[in-house]
Symmetry: C2
Subunit: 300 residues, 2 copies
């Protein structure tokens, strides 16, 4: 074998190795499992490492500096395990911390805000002036990240953003059918209903769990945008563009939470498994409690 073919083989091997790496996903807790579900279903040949920062959940009521710090620690934890791509499944972390994570981590990073915003504009593009609603946590709404991302692709869009703080607890309690949930949704979404939006972005990973209630409240004419699904589409595109997709077909059938995917939580694995079952339909096969704190001590 000559030098050149040796080198091309080495490059091929390396490429293959990278293509075989998992995709990292982190979220403040269990909500990002809706993003994992979308990714897993869209990309059956990929395997995933999921980190839920259950020791410090929720992020949606916390400050920029704190969300940045937590997001960096989570990203470092995943990067140190070897990943080919990082998905920031948490809307709050996507809204607040992407630039800081990019400073620290040297892999491609996809947040959920951009894909959700672009999908909302895409599906409303036949309207003269699209009206887009966004519901999210307090921190995400305050950051105006969705508004900025939407305006980047549609300058004239009308955007109505509103926080729905109780939705997170309601989703975690699995109150998806209770009359109280409908009543609370009616209150929170009144502004959205009055504005007669064309599309509504579910800007928090917990909200797809309450999809039924939300759809019924805003009416069938409003298209709900699940940022997780939009993110899975963009990840698929990026993997192909960058030649990072795993070329090996997984033998047999994949299912959510199977042992090709590895789940880490920073606390209370038992509670995570219980809530994960509500979100995925099954308990993850590989679930481990770890610590992500104190990476900054590595510097000392």
């Amino acid at each position: 074998m000559n030098k050149i073919s040796e080198q091309s083989k080495a490059i091929q091997d390396l490429k293959f190795k990278i293509q075989n790496l998992p995709i990292g996903i982190f979220d403040s807790g269990v909500g990002g499992l809706t993003v994992y579900r979308a990714l897993h279903n869209r990309l059956p040949n990929e395997h995933f490492i999921y980190l839920g920062d259950t020791a410090r959940v929720p992020y949606g009521t916390k400050s920029l500096a704190t969300v940045e710090r937590y997001a960096i620690e989570n990203s470092q934890f995943l990067a140190l395990r070897g990943i080919k791509l990082l998905v920031v499944a948490c809307n709050t972390a996507s809204a607040l911390a992407l630039p800081k994570i990019r400073e620290k981590i040297d892999v491609d990073i996809v947040g959920v805000i951009g894909p959700g915003a672009r999908e909302a504009v895409k599906i409303t593009k036949e309207k003269g002036i699209p009206k887009i609603g966004v519901i999210a946590t307090e921190a995400t709404v305050q950051s105006r990240a969705y508004s900025e991302a939407i305006r980047k692709v549609s300058e004239k869009a009308e955007i109505i953003e509103t926080p729905c703080p109780l939705f997170v607890s309601l989703a975690e309690e699995n109150w998806t059918q209770e009359p109280e949930t409908y009543s609370i949704a009616k209150k929170y979404l009144q502004k959205i209903v009055d504005a007669k939006v064309d599309a509504l972005v579910l800007g928090c990973t917990h909200y797809p769990i309450l999809r039924g209630v939300i759809q019924q409240t805003v009416g069938e004419n409003v298209t709900l945008i699940d940022s997780g699904q939009a993110t899975a589409e963009e990840v698929n595109k990026l993997l192909n563009e960058k030649d990072l997709a795993n070329p090996q077909k997984v033998k047999g059938e994949r299912r959510l939470g199977d042992d090709l995917d590895h789940f880490y939580v920073t606390d209370a694995a038992e509670r995570f498994a219980r809530v994960a079952e509500r979100f995925l339909g099954v308990k993850p096969a590989k679930l481990e409690a770890i610590e992500v704190f104190g990476f900054d001590e590595l510097k000392n």
Copy 2:
């Protein structure tokens, strides 16, 4: 001045110095302000340092090990500032972490579980077999700390414990009058109503904010026990027994959140101030955002 009178003066000075120290209070967030309010009203000559661990709130869904770690870090932060007594205002931390805090901190420590439990038994003591309800976070209920504390003073008491997870968000949203809150309370408290309890312990610092709804749901015959108020009584007793009460009368009138009391939060001071206003009626005069993490690094 002879040796002996010199020494007694030195002792007197030292005692005076200790009596002048503030009382430390920590909570997972803003909820402990209901305990601060009770302490402040009961002990107008004392001043307080309050720490709300808003960067890591809530504790009620987290594990024993994590709650212990957070509680120790908070206690160390307060102890390093000089306090004569530590009040663990958080029910979850009181239920799970008192023994570990006692290992690390060398001042008297009062949690909210014991005082709440004793008060419940005291006010039901004329009943043959007192029936006591306890509502709290998931972690506190799972710990059975209230049941154990009640049994210590009344072996035969019947105890019904139940978690009310949505109450925390409802209190922070200030939904104290909304029909949804009444409806959710009816669901959560059905077991308590069916059991015909004599007293109901509000075993989470957020719950006194929903006192009106809770009282109406369980009926006027049930005495609600605010653990914060019971704790203030026990702290008063302890200060007198140990000669730790501040003998100096504060000049002028005290008010909640005045500049004799110092408030620290680990994150999002603005949001804390906003919610504090709902809990206290005023914003605290002295409010500062700090970090409590990494005290263990001091060991290195």
